[in-house]
């Protein structure tokens, strides 16, 4: 895993969380632009998956492969699920759901980096 890029993914996810948090504090629901933002984070995670696949194919060893791929798959699923769940609610709570999802993605990515680092 390329460390700088993983850090970028973490920062993107945290930025999305911060954006949604501002909306939650201002009592506003999630807007379409935030979903585009979530799409950007999602695309970055996808790149991460491809990078990891290429590195492993190239001979890199992951000490805990099941956990590693599990985290990757879960981190891919979190934002789409949260977006669907949030959109049914047109109140500030949809923004809070997005905060939770984005922070979860950031934590998962950070954990991925740690697992990769011990390889």
């Amino acid at each position: 895993m390329v460390t700088p890029f993983a850090v970028v993914v973490v920062l993107l996810a945290l930025a999305l969380a911060g954006w949604a948090l501002v909306f939650a504090v201002r009592d506003r629901a999630v807007v379409l632009r935030q979903l585009w933002g979530a799409g950007v984070v999602e695309a970055a995670i996808l790149v991460q998956v491809v990078v990891a696949l290429v590195l492993v194919a190239g001979g890199a060893v992951v000490t805990e492969p099941v956990t590693f791929w599990g985290y990757l798959v879960v981190s891919l699923a979190v934002l789409p699920l949260a977006a669907v769940w949030a959109l049914a609610e047109r109140t500030r709570w949809s923004s809070v759901v997005l905060v939770v999802a984005a922070v979860t993605v950031a934590v998962l990515q950070w954990r991925l980096l740690e697992i990769w680092g011990t390889a």
């Binding site: 599990g70 049914a88 949809s94």
Partner: protein
Amino acid sequence: MRDRGDGVSAARPAPVRPTARSTASGPGRVLVAVYGVFAISASARAGVQLARDWHEAPLAYGLSAFAAVVYVVATVALARGSRRLAGAAVAVELVGVLVVGTWSLVDPGAFPQATVWSGFGRGYGYVPLVLPVLGLAWLWRTRRAAPSADASAHATP
């Protein structure tokens, strides 16, 4: 919060709420989201542990699997508004985190590997300890009529 309008509610007629509020809307949506995250991550983790190193720490890993099941049940029950089931799952969770949390501190040797509930959920930012309390508070707050009466009498679409 603001939809309750505690301070100004006297000015306008209070809405008639014959049935209990949904457990999955408003703040409940966030609760379900957090429960969902825990359900997925706990299940995935327990699955890996049971499949690979069950023999290393049967007690800890068995408890992890149990906790995962409880989180899944709580998530589904809260999302679907099955109050009784949700209440039971959340209560089991609270007892679990308190018992296992205390046990893991008194006798660390019993838990060579951490579970979600070890040290009162320390490894997860104490969220496992806070979550069931919030869950029970939320179930309490959204209930209107007697739990048994509202569930059977009014099936809100």
